[in-house]
């Protein structure tokens, strides 16, 4: 209580300080500098960094500019997005296919940028879906989801999709252990029947993902992950909680043990075991969706994964005892220190990779679980950060010898030294910070200019908007000795985690148009002369073009009630930032947004006779309002023939 009051007073003082500084316009008080100019990006100028925030329960991805905090784009991934037809159009529906059928919503959690040699390279962004376990890949030249792979034998894909230092793998793990493979068993048989699974998804040079192998592990909750780098390259670390193996009221029952575990996985050793045939082939069904070279999403039903167990592949997995239900596990830029966020712990334990290897060599074990040796805590610990705030969750690094840990309960960021493990600075977060992000802050080379707090509670930070409030991010300058708050900005959905990169890495690689002469869509209409309408039984196919400022054809007759009308629309524009839209009255699907040179298809099911307009939904030109057409719908069995006009 005393603590809370102190914080409240601190906050009040902070507000007064800002007001005084704001009114006076003079030298800011407390050495805070001029926050406004630090985040000001003049009209027409660019932000220095791209910042990718998970959409959380929106299922999508937010893209912001830093330091301005301006929203640049939302990338649809795991949820249907009627705004541009994602998951509605015939070409994108397959992206949301799973072994459970079409799933229209997902829960995106952790954006992870691809790396080369432990440094962000700007090729792709991976992001995990927690609810129906999946990993997506976003192409950073188009900001479009190009691939989604389902993770079988898993549930609650939370410890994902953290990559190895050359993006050899992206990982996935089970947050909610389940019978594996699935089985109809009593829930209270958890201890006998439930397991976790650590999945390693191979990433090919062209980005294409495939599940290389899965490691069957004890039924704990595998929560977060990071891969080793530099000297620890070849290892991946996964936190786990619920080593109590409770299956009900976890908030109490999974919080009893003093220590849970970080699973240290030697994936190079796992590769050997798989190569030696020590894996077992499981009949695992999962769906793999990707854009083919025609820019059309296809779904492959995959069958079978290779499963290995620590019991059959020795020296592959070790448990590092870690206090109190650890959440984040973060490897410092040197690759030698492994910080854990024990969310109920009084300290931040920092494990030493070097000591861990020594302990393994000395077989300094205190026990074993299902073939996994448990190392002695005292033998592997590099240091403990005392007084780290309440509820430490995640740590990022600035590349200058400091770590920054988010503390959820005390709502603050704590800066500590990687040499002395002493806290050197702390700053309040408004409120209840979850993840935090420094661009490159989980790689070998962070850009240590800012840390961004990703807060879970917003309350009074912005103008109120009814009961549901935007989540809130805060940009904090970490270039000096003292952290200083520069900017609040609201975020879309719930940005669990976020990553940033310098704009210069990808800015000049952005695709402006899709060249029409490379459009291999089989239903594309590349000239107005080819535009046409064809009936095939109850299906009517409209091969339509758009260009400023008309559709071809724009008068269509001969459609009947009960038909399925497929509008295959090709945008003939080859000009930068000239998309067209297509919408028609009563569509139970969505609109289409068509980028220049792109072909997309939407289905319309006319249910009533009449004449129905369609129009361009994306203001395209001076005569945008004239960009419209009509479809005449006749009764079923009508003698009105299919007809249409071309120029």
């Amino acid at each position: 209580m005393i603590r809370t009051t102190k914080f409240a007073m601190g906050l009040a003082a902070g507000v007064v300080t800002l007001l005084v500084a704001g009114c006076g316009g003079g030298t800011p008080i407390g050495g805070n500098g001029d926050a406004a100019s630090a985040v000001y990006v003049a009209p027409g100028e660019y932000d220095e960094f791209y910042f990718f925030t998970s959409g959380g329960f929106s299922g999508q991805l937010g893209v912001y500019g830093l330091p301005s905090g301006r929203l640049l784009k939302q990338v649809p991934i795991f949820s249907q997005w009627a705004e541009n037809g994602w998951g509605y159009s015939e070409e994108t529906k397959a992206m949301l296919e799973t072994s459970y059928g079409f799933v229209p919503w997902g829960d995106s959690h952790h954006p992870e940028l691809s790396q080369t040699d432990g440094v962000i390279d700007g090729r792709w962004l991976f992001i995990n879906e927690n609810n129906t376990p999946r990993i997506a890949r976003i192409d950073l030249t188009t900001f479009e989801t190009v691939e989604i792979i389902e993770i079988p034998n898993s549930a609650g894909n939370h410890a994902s999709p953290f990559v190895t230092q050359n993006t050899e793998y992206t990982v996935a793990a089970t947050r909610f252990s389940v019978p594996t493979p699935q089985a109809d068993v009593p829930i209270d048989s958890y201890k006998e029947n439930f397991s976790g699974m650590l999945s390693f998804v191979k990433v090919a040079d062209n980005g294409r993902m495939n599940i290389a192998f899965q490691i069957l592990v004890p039924g704990y909750n595998y929560d977060l992950s990071h891969s080793g780098k530099g000297p620890s390259h070849g290892w991946s670390f996964f936190t786990s909680y619920n080593s109590e193996q409770a299956n009900t009221l976890l908030e109490v029952n999974a919080s009893q043990n003093d220590k849970d575990y970080i699973a240290a996985v030697n994936w190079m050793r796992a590769e050997e075991c798989v190569a030696n045939g020590q894996g077992e082939r499981w009949a695992s069904n999962y769906v793999h969706n990707y854009f083919d070279d025609r820019h059309i999403a296809v779904s492959d039903m995959e069958n079978g994964t290779t499963v290995i167990t620590p019991a059959t592949c020795s020296d592959m997995v070790y448990y590092l005892p870690t206090p109190k239900s650890p959440h984040g596990v973060d490897v410092d830029p040197s690759g030698l220190l492994i910080a854990a966020g024990g969310k109920l712990a009084a300290v931040i334990p920092v494990h030493s990779f070097t000591k861990m290897i020594q302990a393994i060599e000395n077989e300094d074990f205190i026990g074993e679980v299902e073939g996994i040796p448990i190392l002695r805590y005292e033998s592997i610990i590099a240091g403990e950060v005392k007084n780290p705030g309440l509820g430490p969750l995640h740590t990022e690094f600035d590349g200058k010898g400091y770590a920054y840990t988010s503390a959820f309960i005390s709502s603050e960021i704590v800066k500590w030294s990687l040499e002395t493990f002493e806290v050197v600075d702390r700053i309040d977060a408004y409120y209840s910070i979850g993840h935090l992000s420094i661009p490159g802050g989980d790689t070998r080379e962070p850009w240590g200019k800012w840390v961004i707090a990703l807060n879970k509670t917003t309350k009074d930070r912005y103008l109120p908007t009814g009961p549901e409030l935007a989540h809130s991010a805060q940009l904090i300058d970490i270039s000096g000795d003292k952290m200083r708050l520069l900017l609040d900005f609201p975020t879309v959905g719930e940005p669990h985690y976020a990553q940033g990169l310098p704009a210069s890495l990808i800015k000049d690689k952005q695709v402006r148009i899709y060249p029409l002469d490379e459009n291999d869509h089989p239903l594309a209409t590349k000239t107005e002369a080819e535009a046409r309408v064809e009936r095939e039984g109850r299906n009517v196919h409209v091969y339509m073009t758009t260009i400023r400022t008309h559709f071809v054809p724009d008068n269509i007759e001969g459609v009947q009630v009960g038909d399925s009308v497929f509008f295959h629309v090709t945008n003939l524009e080859q000009d930068w930032d000239v998309p067209h839209g297509f919408a028609i009255t009563g569509a139970n699907t969505s609109e289409l947004l068509l980028m220049p040179g792109e072909t997309r298809t939407i289905v319309w099911l006319p249910t009533r006779i009449g004449v129905y307009p369609f129009y361009c939904t994306d203001f395209c030109s001076a005569l945008h309002q004239e960009m419209q057409g009509y479809v005449r719908v006749s009764p079923r069995g009508s003698s009105v023939p299919i007809s249409f006009n071309t120029p």
Binding site: P515, I547, R548, Q574, D575, S621, A622, L623
Partner: protein
Amino acid sequence: MLRSSRVLIATASILLGLVFMFPLWRIELQAPQYPEGLGLLIKVSDITGVKPHDLQNINGLNHYIGMKTIEPDSIPELRFMPVFVAVMIAAGLLVAATGNRVLLYLWVGVFLIGSVAGLVDFWLWSYDYGHNLDPTAAIKVPGMTYQPPLIGSKQLLNFVATSWPALGGLAAMVSVGIGSLVAIGEWRRARKGAEATG
């Protein structure tokens, strides 16, 4: 002809070869919504955009004001010009090789006439595009025509059109300039020679 004159004529002929490598003229279009610019390159045998789709996009915009579509395949000058330039290069080299003054005067004369005719033709062509507009065009501004300038800048509705000779065009100008100067020099020298002997 002096040896130096013959060298200069050979140089001028070779310089003219640049016409096959670089555009003759460049028309740039700037508008608020085109910060990246649009542009046309007039080449000896083709008209292209500065960027890959500029020609198509300019044609697309021009349809609002009723301008005809620029279709390089239907412009006969683009078939005639390369032949003329090739003949001029060959003839120039012949002049240099023979050192024949009469051939020199003839070459320079044809070259000058051809150059002026080319510019006049270009101006007439742009006049036609800028003035002969489709009466059903969506945008009709009374009194407004859209001929870009031959050289310099002009505001055409939301676009500023800027037109300049490009490297190929400049090479042709320098080439015809050298030819003319050499011809004048040779003519003076010949007259002096005639006076001296007369």
